[in-house]
Amino acid sequence: MACALTQPDLHDVGTDFSIDAFLEREREKDLLRFSTAGSVDDGKSTLIGRLLYDTQSVYDDQVLSIRGKGTAGPQLDFALLTDGLRAEREQGITIDVAYRYFSTPRRKFIIADTPGHEQYTRNMATGASTADAAIVLVDARKGVLPQSRRHAYIATLLGVRHIIVAVNKMDLVDYDAETFASIRSEFESFARYAAAESGHTPELHFIPVSALLGVNVVRVSDETPWYDGPALLELLESLPTTVGSEIAPFRLPIQHVIRPHQGFRGFAGQIASGTIRVGDPVTVLPSGRTSRVERIVTYDGDLDVAHAPLSVTLTLEDELDISRGDLLTLAGEETRVARRFAASLVWMDGRSLDASRRYLLKHTSQTVPAEVRLRHRVDLEQSIREPGRVLEMNTIGVAEIETRRPIALEQYRENRTLGAFVLIDAETNATAGAGMVREVLTDDASAVDARPVTALERATRWGHAGVVLRLKAPSSVANAFERALLKAGVFVVRPPDDDPTTPGVLAAAGALVLVAEEGGHSISLRIGSSRAESLIHGETTKAVASLLRLLRESNVLHHQERTR
């Protein structure tokens, strides 16, 4: 390579190199996919560039094309190796995922280098959805930022098995062990919350690195004598890949029916999990019909046994009506078939999630119309659930989904293929949301649910939390205001007497309590315990509109109430 490297060549093509031995070793190699995550400028692209460079995975012409450019001063700006769009190089940021490939003598890797900006969160989710591991970069000087939390949460939700927290730019904090330890403990406490909220528990790994200088990236460095773990690459080489799902129950979503002539009907698909053998009894879902595997057909000859993740074609002993979108399982190991389920959603479209819109839900190889009702949103800043019916772009929540037709599905945590779906906006065709099944619900809407109603459910139902409003206004304005609230679907009550305790009790129970007092000509409103009183002017219609706007602006009403 044109540039002096401190590392020995990993692909030594010396004199005693044997191509046959090389090919033999290559056949043994497996594949690990990982993605980067973290806030802008934490060093994601630099780290990937460094990994590629130090494993001799970049060609001279690619190095030459970035020399003397970028933002790393006299150092090579490694980020330029992955920031492949002009807009990215001009702005010095990553906009969309870049996929890069490298291999070591141990295994092959696919990297998804993702953007850090909040507005591009969906591209980060794209990169993480297929990853076995995610490297969350944290700038040692800045600590765990909101974007680090958001990305770590999304990676957790997406079921990424390993989260590697790379505390970067250690060179700028003198490789201080304390800094590393405190970031580690802060991250661990967030990870506990993320695991509880998402229902997934990834394995955590922490490594202090300097991406720019290559410290602990390919090899453990002397700069951090207090760190006794592996270098990043050593860790990546030793993580188990998700392939290994062949001992899970057999699942084959049918993608395509192959009928070259009358005598052959093959059901083609990629095995999502498990193993299948000729002669195995199988069930077709959702129909529930059963048969046995007659042949496992491939271009390279029939197989006796096949397992995930191979793409195969099966023929069955009986003539069953099977089409694209059906699921084949082993008899006795069927999945649930349902129309209703609860799912985590990551919203990715500029048009917010709106329960009144029609969405197409794509799940395995089928697309069905679906209704989506939000249960709650997840506020990662405060680590809380909040009520609401809307999900804006890049926000996360939990929703109830009802599909037009029943589908065979599983919880995402049990099966990444059978628990995943995307929502497509039926009007714009945009890929609007990514969903992960949390819980399959009973289809019978009249089934008894004996769980107590929570405050959150109440707030979600009414579109607001309980609060006392003290209005000073002519009675005509008070009446019109109450009527407008009622019309908007608000749970509004107006206690008859001026009883000092009733309003508080009702508000605590979730009502919007209107306490009105004759105010002559002036109109003012006090919301809850806030000291501030807003003065309002104008005739009745205008005054009511202003009052409603005030409620929305102060987040008493969630704005979707307008359209109810």
């Binding site: 769009l85 969309d96 062949e246 694209r324 293929t417």
Partner: protein, 317 residues
């Protein structure tokens, strides 16, 4: 084989060691076949761009595998610039016959008749007319709503940004700053009339993967990839194949050079390399020793920084 007796649903546990590691090539193959089948099922009128090179050869084999024992359920389309090597065209026709696929060939005849070439025009405008324009015209003429291409993400920086299902607007253009999110293997194939999707089943394959797969699967490829003495114009380090008369400089005489092509394109813009690699293992061995990327031998990407991205935005593959 382990037969199941008397209807028992019990599958005896398989020793993990025998299954656990799925080689990367099997994994890539399974993923690509999944993509091919999705497209065949979800689109009205898909087509496979067939460029005759090594990547197309792999893609074609994967299509045979995906629909076996049935035929490939879509036509192949070759965009012929008029500057392809003669060996390539002969190989193309033989290959289409051998796999039993319908082959369509499209040429931008007005531009070819007008004498368009990379020397009278610059390479950028030549490509624009003979490749991009021809491609867009062909897709429109036949009304294709999905087109497979053999491009790989490891080829070039802007390709590394491409989705597997890459949305194109009514004019066939790519908007890299506003791509559809693409999670798991759930591809959004919904388009409005006039819009289309470019599909890249080999997205995750590297140059090395492609060669290893060709070797393992014994996939036929054009002889130009193998080293042998060939007439070349020698210009310093560069070797230019003797195919088109206009390439020669005044008084320039070709020499026989033991050489081969690392990637196939139009003859005036594809440089050969000196090489002794006349077998697949030798080609793979040589690949390990390369210090520059495969596109370094192509004239077209070097015109300016980001030229591939610009071409792709305009509708190029």
């Amino acid at each position: 084989m382990l037969p199941t007796e008397n209807g028992s649903t019990y599958s005896p546990p398989i020793p993990l060691s025998s299954l656990q590691r799925v080689s990367h090539l099997r994994l890539l193959e399974a993923e690509s076949i999944h993509i091919l089948r999705e497209v065949a099922s979800e689109f009205e009128r898909p087509v496979m761009l067939y460029s005759i090179g090594k990547d197309s050869s792999v893609m074609l084999r994967l299509a045979q595998k995906a629909f076996f024992p049935g035929p490939i359920p879509f036509p192949l389309l070759h965009i012929d610039t008029g500057f392809k090597f003669q060996e390539m065209l002969a190989f193309r026709d033989a290959m289409a016959r051998a796999v039993g696929a319908e082959l369509l060939v499209w040429r931008n005849e007005p531009a070819i008749a007008a004498g368009t070439n990379p020397i009278v025009l610059d390479t950028k405008r030549c490509c624009g007319l003979l490749k991009t324009q021809a491609l867009l015209d062909a897709l429109k003429h036949y009304g294709f709503d999905a087109a497979f291409g053999g491009a790989r993400r490891d080829e070039e920086k802007s390709r590394a940004k491409e989705r597997i299902f890459s949305f194109r607007d009514g004019a066939g253009q790519w908007d890299p700053k506003n791509q559809r999110p693409e999670l798991w293997n759930l591809y959004n194939s919904r388009v409005h009339p006039g819009e289309s999707i470019r599909v890249f089943p080999l997205s995750n394959w590297t140059e090395m993967d492609v060669w290893q797969y060709i070797h393992e699967e014994e996939i036929p490829i054009v002889d130009l990839y193998f080293a042998k003495p060939r007439p070349m114009y020698v210009r310093g380090e560069a070797l230019l194949p003797v195919e088109q008369a206009f390439v020669a400089r005044l008084g320039e005489k070709p020499q026989m050079v033991r050489s081969r092509l690392r990637s196939l394109g139009c003859s005036p813009c594809t440089g050969a390399i000196r090489s002794d690699a006349d077998t697949l293992p030798k080609i793979i061995g040589e690949l390990l020793s390369f210090r520059s990327s495969e596109r370094a031998n192509r004239v077209i990407d070097h015109d300016q920084e980001g030229s591939m991205e610009i071409k792709k935005r305009e509708g190029y593959f």
